[in-house]
């Protein structure tokens, strides 16, 4: 497995909602090697504030040459990224981390919430290409229609169908992704791939545990290096001790993690 530190050109910036942006970057090194669930560390500016790189999932690759990140502006780093211009260059490290695994023979169910939807597009696309028989079941949740609709659009364009859920009911099911899952007739051999806010992932994990469905989750933690050097990005393990989200993950078998259930 190889990683690169690259100055990559911004070939496109799109504003999907007032605070969600998608940036297309050119790097055949990264695009040709990336697997779904992997991420990149992005330097958001030249200065020393913010100091550290920011992690973003690879949300799509194309032509083995381009890759996309999809992000929400929540602080200084993402705000600086949103102010970049096409033609400018970003320093990128990647592709980093383990990816999702999938088995074409199993039923696959992808569950995403908020910006956690980003890597699932890449995963869905890979499944579609490799598992011609059974397209995955896709369940996506967000706060409202405004946030969710543009994210679903990408899946639709690939020909994938999506079960949407919104907190306010403005699109699809009024409620949580788990409300949808409960209504689906999932095979016990089904394999769940989940990315989203921790409370959502906890709920899906508990759902799967009860149904004895296999479940892999992509974990978000604070990261300084993204490559296993700083040891800052730990997630507690069920057996005790910790794993490192950047190098052992970010995708983990949910059973192996210690979940804080309140």
């Amino acid at each position: 497995m190889s990683q690169f530190q690259e100055k990559t050109e911004i070939t496109r910036i799109e504003r999907l909602t007032p605070d969600v942006f998608r940036i297309t970057l050119e790097s055949s090194e990264i695009a040709s090697r990336a697997r779904p669930g992997q991420f990149v560390m992005v330097r958001t500016g030249d200065g020393k504030d913010p100091l550290l790189r920011r992690p973003f999932s690879i949300s799509q690759t194309s032509s083995g040459k381009y890759f996309q990140i999809l992000f929400k502006v929540i602080g200084r780093g993402t705000s600086m990224l949103a102010h970049c211009r096409e033609g400018e260059y970003l320093s990128i490290l990647g592709p980093l981390g383990s990816g999702f695994t999938f088995d074409c023979k199993a039923d696959n169910c992808l569950v995403g919430g908020g910006m956690g939807i980003a890597p699932l597009l890449f995963l869905g696309k890979s499944m579609l290409r490799n598992c011609t028989l059974k397209p995955p079941t896709i369940v996506l949740g967000a706060r409202n229609k405004e946030e969710l609709a543009p994210l679903i659009k990408d899946f639709k364009e690939l020909g994938l169908s999506v079960y949407p859920a919104t907190d306010d009911g403005s699109l699809g099911t009024h409620g949580l992704v788990t409300d949808i899952l409960k209504g689906l007739d999932l095979a016990p051999t089904c394999k769940m791939s989940v990315c989203g806010p921790t409370p959502m992932m906890t709920a899906v994990h508990l759902f799967c545990k009860k149904k004895e469905i296999s479940c892999q989750v992509s974990m978000e933690t604070a990261m300084a290096c993204g490559m296993g050097a700083c040891l800052g990005c730990i997630v507690p393990l069920a057996k005790g001790g910790y794993a490192h989200a950047c190098s052992d993950g970010p995708v983990f078998d949910a059973k192996e993690l210690l979940w804080q259930v309140r």
Partner: protein, 309 residues
């Protein structure tokens, strides 16, 4: 390009000759392997690996890190594989890389330091020991070895006794007068001192009203601390006659020059490795160009060359 240039960048740390003064700082370069995709490791002066204790440590619970203005706080809690697995697993890769390896060691008691040093003795590929004395001394109620000159000296002497390679003692900046500690470890036999370790700091999230890292307090590193590091290196370089290794907020070859002008013989690059994994190699390239452009006979001409007003 710069690699084809010829410049004398060699410096000595005790009996050890380094091909250039650029080292990587403990805890910021993993066990070096992590940086192989980005850096030609053999082009570095030396690498210092993550702090090793006698027994493996799981480290602190999350969150362990948080960004601050031009810096970061960490409380990793010295997560490491322990000296035994370090020798058996990590040294194998390191032995193949043509770069001097310093092993950063730490303990809760003087005896622990001694036992680790003994275990590392004569392990092929280890070029030097860096003794981290910033850890709390369990027996002495948690006061750091690095804040009491007598304790610092005892640790130094113990490690020195068990080592056949140069012993560097890494000083804590959280003291009233760092030169006192530096002189104490020099007298106890240290071959060099390295400084600074992190400044003790804290960050709070006002929304949750909680500390940003689970350990409440942590170590501040990065460009924010560079002025403090530079001042301490300057003070210590005047106080001791062993080599001083400068650490703290170094990112570029210009930063390296500043520390060398202040009196450092070599430097370590820490947090900058996270932001630019190639920072250490680029610093070597920058120094090479500098020596060539300035027509210096050696980078050693820069050491302590600060011109006072």
């Amino acid at each position: 390009m710069a690699s084809s240039l010829k410049a004398d960048l060699r410096v000595s740390i005790g009996s050890l000759k380094l091909k250039n003064p650029v080292m990587t700082a403990s805890g910021t370069f993993g066990y070096a392997k992590e940086f192989e995709p980005y850096v030609n490791l053999h082009r570095l002066g030396a690498v210092v690996v993550k702090g090793i204790s006698l027994e493996p440590r799981a480290g602190n619970p999350p969150p362990r890190i948080v960004e601050t203005s031009c810096g970061m706080l960490n409380a990793i809690g010295l997560e490491n594989v322990g000296v035994e697995r370090f020798v058996k697993e990590k040294m194998v890769f390191l032995q193949d890389v043509n770069v001097p390896v310093f092993v950063n060691i730490l303990g809760d008691s003087i005896d622990e330091y001694r036992v680790i040093a003994k275990r590392l003795k004569d392990v092929p590929g280890i070029a030097g020991i860096e003794v981290n004395i910033s850890c709390p001394n369990v027996k002495k109620g948690g006061v750091a070895f690095g804040t009491i000159p007598e304790m610092a000296a005892l640790v130094t002497a113990a490690v020195k006794e068990e080592s056949s390679v140069p012993v560097v003692v890494k000083l804590s900046p959280n003291v009233s007068d760092i030169t006192v500690i530096a002189r104490a470890v020099e007298d106890a036999g240290a071959d060099a001192v390295s400084l600074i370790n992190t400044l003790i700091g804290m960050a709070i999230d006002h929304k949750s009203r909680r500390p940003c890292i689970a350990n409440v307090i942590g170590g501040l590193s990065g460009p924010a601390i560079k002025p403090v590091a530079l001042r301490m290196v300057y003070q210590v370089a005047q106080a001791v006659s062993i080599p001083v290794i400068g650490i703290g907020g170094i990112e570029t070859y210009e930063d390296v020059l500043e520390f060398m002008l202040a009196g450092a013989t070599a430097v370590q690059i820490g947090t900058a490795n996270f932001i630019n994994p190639r920072a250490s190699e680029e610093a070597v390239e920058g120094l090479t160009r500098y020596v060539v452009d300035e027509k210096l006979s050696s980078i050693r001409d820069v050491i302590g060359g600060l011109i006072l007003p």
